[in-house]
C-alpha cells in the first residue's frame, strides 16, 4: 500500500512532530521508513544513499543514511543539533524535527520539542524502558508536548512477542503517571522491516491498534491550542500616512491564543486602557472574526498610544500577570555557564527587557528527576529559577499558554541565545 495517492492536498493540516531516541533505537531507520513508504524520498536521494551503502560494503539500502547530514558531521561522525524533514500524505503535511542523541541531547530535544504537536519516543524492544526513555518522557512533559507515542521498535528481534510489548508498556505507563503525562499511545513495530510504520505487515496480528502513519494522519490536534484567552502581542504599528489612509493606525501581529470579533471590548496591557475592536483586516479585506494562529491587522475605536511589545486581551476571561518577578523552568543552552552576577536580555512575545537570574531553586537530574542544589547552570542543565526583569512582562503560565509563557535569554555581549524558559506559577 502506498499512502501517497499522488493528488494535491491543499486542504490538509500541518502536524509537527519530534522523534526521540538514539541511533541504536533505530530512529534514523524509522524516519527513513516513514519517508520511503510514504514515497517522500526522491530518486536522486535514494540513488545517492544506495551508492553510499555500497561504498561502506553493505547490501541493500541503509535508510538511516537519509538523515545523515553535513560534511562536518560525516567527517567527525557526529550529528549537529536539529534537522527538519518534510513529507506529506493526502491528509496532512508533516514536519519532523530530527534531533540526534548523545551528550547535547537535552538542549536539542527541548529545541525540537518547542514547536511539536507530538513526540514519538523510541524504545528498543530488547532493552525495554531505559534511563534515556525516562529522560525523553520528562523533557516531553517539561515542554508540554500534547501527544506522546511510544514506538516499541525492533520487535523482529524479540519474535514479535506480545508479552515483551505489554511489559514495556506497563513500565512506561508507571513512569509517565508520575510525570502526569496522559494521551500516550503505544505501537509495536519493526522500522527495519516496515511493520506497523506505514503498512501493518503480517507479523503483529495480535496488535489491534493503528499504524504509526495512521495515527499521525488522524490524531486530533486542533484542541491543543488555547482557544479561551485572547492574546495579541503587537508586533508592528502600521501608519502609512498616505492621502487615502491618512488617519489609519493598524496594529499588526499574530493572534497567539483565543479569538476576536469586531466590536469586542479589549484591554491594552500593561497600561490597562480599554477600547473596542473596530476592524479585523487581512490582505483580502476585512473579516468579522479571527482565531489563533492567524496573522492579522487590528484597528480600534479609540486613539490609544499603542506600540510594539504591548498586549491586547479581551475584557473578562483569565487575565495574564503583569509582573517584574517570576519563576521559570530554565533549560541552559550555551557552553558558557550562567553568571548570576550578570544581566541578560529576556525576549518574551514581542518584548525585550533586561533581566537577572536572582536565584536557582534547584536543578533537575533529568535521569533520576532528583532535585539538586547548584550555584550555576551549565549547558543541558534544567533548573527552576527566579528571575527579575527591569520592565514588567505580561505573561501566563506556560502550562496554560505556551506563547505567553515562554521566553529566551540572550547574552548581551555575544548576542547568543543562552537559555530557554517556561514560566511557572508561584503556587507550584
Amino acid at each position: 500500500m502506498s499512502v501517497n495517492e499522488n493528488v494535491p492536498f491543499e486542504q490538509g493540516e500541518l502536524l509537527r512532530f519530534i522523534t526521540a531516541g538514539s541511533v541504536d533505537d533505530g530512529k534514523s531507520t524509522l524516519i527513513g521508513r516513514l519517508l520511503h513508504d510514504s514515497k517522500s524520498i526522491f530518486e536522486d536521494q535514494l540513488s545517492s544513499i544506495t551508492n553510499t551503502t555500497r561504498k561502506r560494503g553493505m547490501a541493500g539500502v541503509d535508510l538511516s543514511l537519509l538523515t545523515d547530514g553535513l560534511q562536518a558531521e560525516r567527517e567527525q561522525g557526529i550529528t549537529i543539533d536539529v534537522a527538519y524533514r518534510y513529507f506529506a500524505t493526502p491528509k496532512r503535511k508533516f514536519i519532523i524535527a530530527d534531533t540526534p542523541g548523545h551528550e547535547q541531547y537535552t538542549r536539542n530535544m527541548v529545541t525540537g520539542a518547542s514547536t511539536a504537536n507530538l513526540a514519538v519516543i523510541l524504545i528498543d524492544a530488547r532493552k525495554g524502558v531505559l534511563t534515556q526513555s525516562r529522560r525523553h518522557a520528562y523533557l516531553a512533559s517539561l515542554v508540554g508536548i500534547p501527544h506522546l507515542v511510544v514506538a516499541v521498535n525492533k520487535m523482529d528481534l524479540m519474535d514479535y512477542s506480545q508479552k515483551v510489548f505489554d511489559e514495556i508498556c506497563k513500565d512506561f505507563a508507571a513512569f509517565a503517571n508520575e510525570l502526569n503525562l496522559h494521551n500516550i499511545e503505544y505501537i509495536p513495530m519493526s522500522a527495519l522491516n516496515g511493520d506497523m510504520v506505514v503498512d501493518r505487515g503480517d507479523k503483529l496480528p495480535w496488535y489491534k491498534g493503528v499504524t504509526l502513519m495512521n495515527l499521525l494522519e488522524n490524531i486530533i490536534i486542533d484542541h491543543d491550542m488555547n482557544l479561551a484567552d485572547f492574546r495579541f502581542p503587537v508586533q508592528w504599528v502600521c501608519r502609512p500616512r498616505t492621502e487615502d489612509t491618512h488617519d489609519f493606525r493598524g496594529y499588526m501581529g499574530r493572534i497567539e491564543s483565543g479569538s476576536v470579533r469586531v466590536g469586542d471590548a479589549v484591554t491594552l496591557l500593561p497600561s490597562g486602557l480599554t477600547s473596542r475592536i473596530k476592524e479585523i483586516l487581512v490582505y483580502e479585506g476585512s473579516i468579522e472574526q479571527a482565531v489563533a494562529p492567524q496573522s492579522v491587522t487590528l484597528t480600534i475605536e479609540d486613539h490609544l498610544d499603542i506600540s510594539r511589545g504591548d498586549l491586547l486581551i479581551k475584557a473578562g476571561g483569565e487575565p495574564p500577570r503583569v509582573t517584574k518577578e517570576f519563576d521559570a523552568m530554565l533549560c541552559w543552552l550555551s557552553d558558557q555557564s550562567l553568571d548570576p552576577q550578570r544581566k541578560y536580555l529576556v525576549k518574551h512575545t514581542t518584548r525585550i527587557v533586561k533581566a537577572v537570574v536572582s536565584g536557582i531553586d534547584y536543578r533537575v537530574d533529568v535521569n533520576t528527576l532528583k532535585q539538586e542544589t547548584v550555584d550555576t547552570l551549565k549547558m543541558n542543565d534544567i533548573a527552576r529559577v527566579k528571575l527579575k526583569v527591569q520592565q514588567p512582562l505580561i505573561c501566563d503560565d506556560y502550562e496554560r499558554n505556551h506563547a505567553t509563557g515562554s521566553f529566551i535569554l540572550i547574552d548581551e555581549t555575544s548576542n547568543n541565545t543562552v537559555a530557554a524558559g517556561m514560566i511557572v506559577s508561584l503556587q507550584k
Partner: protein, 301 residues
C-alpha cells in the same frame, strides 16, 4: 474560522508573515532578496500580506549574475514597479570589473560568485538582515539551517555554531558588520510553493510553464541553448517541450521535460515528481555531496 478550515498553507503563511514583521520591527536595515524566481515571488505576496496598506519597510535587492533569463529580468522589474516598491540591483559585472570576482572563463557558471557581490551590496548599504526565499527541503545543508541564520562579519555560516531557535521567539541581534539571513518560507516544500502560487493566483515568468526550447543533453541533464551554452562536439541541438523548476544562471540551470502549461498541471506534476528540485535542475549542486554547504560557508544565500 470564516467558514474555511485552517489548512497547512494558512499555517505556513501566518508563520511567514509573523517572521517578516519580526524582521521589520527588530532589524535596523533589512532588505528582501528578489530574483524574479518563484520562491521570491511568494515572498513578495507574503510581504504584501504582512505590511499593506503600508509600504514594505525594506527595499528589494537583486544580485544579478547577468547570466539570467531575459524574461525573468523583465518580470523582476515589472513586478517591483507594480508593487511600487524600491528595487536595488547590484551586478556581478561590477564585481568583475573591480577585480573582486575573477572568472576562469567568460561562460563559467556564476552562481558561486554571487556571494561576493551580495556581501559587497550588504556592506555598501549596511544591511543587517536579508530576507531570502530558501527552503529547508531543497538540500541537506538547508535542512539544518535556522530561520534566522546568523552570519559573521565575513558573511560566513558556521553550521556547528548556530543559535538555538525555540518556539517562534527569534533572536535578531547582531553586532555592527554582522548580518542575518532570514528565511520565512524555510518550512515550505516545492509543492507548497506551487499550491500557494495557484491559490493566490500569482504571476510567474513564462519559462516556468512548458514550452518548446532548443536544448542539449549533457551529463544526464538538459541544458538550454543560449549564448552561454553551445553544443560541444558530438552534441546535437534538440527541440524539446520543457519547463524550468528553478530559474538562475543560464549556464547551469537545467529545464525538465514537461507538458505542464498551467499552475494546476505544475502542482500535479510536482506532487508525483521523483527527483528533487535541485537534483533535477542544478549542475552546480552535483559537483560534490557537500557543494551547497561549502558555498553557504562562503556567504552564499
Amino acid at each position: 474560522m470564516n467558514n474555511h478550515p485552517f489548512t497547512h498553507l494558512d499555517a505556513l503563511e501566518s508563520e511567514a508573515i509573523h517572521i517578516m514583521r519580526e524582521v521589520a520591527a527588530e532589524c535596523a536595515n533589512p532588505a528582501l532578496l528578489f530574483s524574479g524566481g518563484k520562491d521570491s515571488i511568494v515572498l513578495l505576496r507574503l510581504a504584501e500580506k504582512a505590511f499593506r496598506p503600508g509600504h514594505f519597510p525594506f527595499p528589494l535587492l537583486h544580485i544579478d549574475t547577468e547570466h539570467n533569463f531575459p524574461e525573468v529580468i523583465e518580470f523582476r522589474d515589472r513586478r517591483a514597479k507594480e508593487l511600487g516598491e524600491r528595487l536595488i540591483v547590484r551586478s556581478m559585472e561590477d564585481s568583475i570589473k573591480k577585480g573582486r570576482v575573477v572568472l576562469r572563463s567568460a561562460d563559467q557558471s556564476r552562481n558561486a560568485f554571487q556571494s561576493v557581490t551580495l556581501l559587497d551590496a550588504i556592506a555598501e548599504f549596511g544591511f543587517d538582515a536579508c530576507i531570502g526565499g530558501a527552503r529547508r527541503d531543497e538540500e541537506k545543508a538547508r535542512a539544518k539551517e535556522r530561520i534566522f541564520s546568523f552570519r559573521d562579519e565575513f558573511g560566513q555560516w558556521d553550521p556547528k555554531n548556530q543559535r538555538p531557535e525555540l518556539w517562534d521567539i527569534y533572536n535578531t541581534r547582531t553586532h555592527p558588520g554582522e548580518n542575518i539571513r532570514v528565511f520565512p518560507i524555510s518550512n515550505w516544500t516545492e509543492l507548497d510553493v506551487w499550491e500557494y502560487i495557484g491559490r493566490e493566483r500569482l504571476e510567474v515568468p513564462h519559462i516556468y510553464f512548458a514550452h518548446m526550447r532548443e536544448v542539449i543533453r549533457r551529463d544526464a541533464g538538459l541544458l538550454p541553448v543560449c549564448h552561454l551554452v553551445q553544443p560541444k562536439e558530438g552534441e546535437k541541438i534538440e527541440n524539446v517541450m520543457v519547463r524550468f523548476r528553478t530559474v538562475g544562471d543560464m549556464s547551469c540551470t537545467c529545464p525538465v521535460e514537461s507538458d505542464a502549461v498551467n499552475i494546476d498541471e505544475i502542482v500535479a506534476e510536482t506532487a508525483i515528481t521523483r527527483i528533487t528540485e535541485r537534483g533535477a535542475t542544478r549542475m552546480d549542486d552535483q559537483t560534490s555531496d557537500a557543494s551547497m554547504e561549502l558555498r553557504k560557508k562562503e556567504g552564499y544565500f
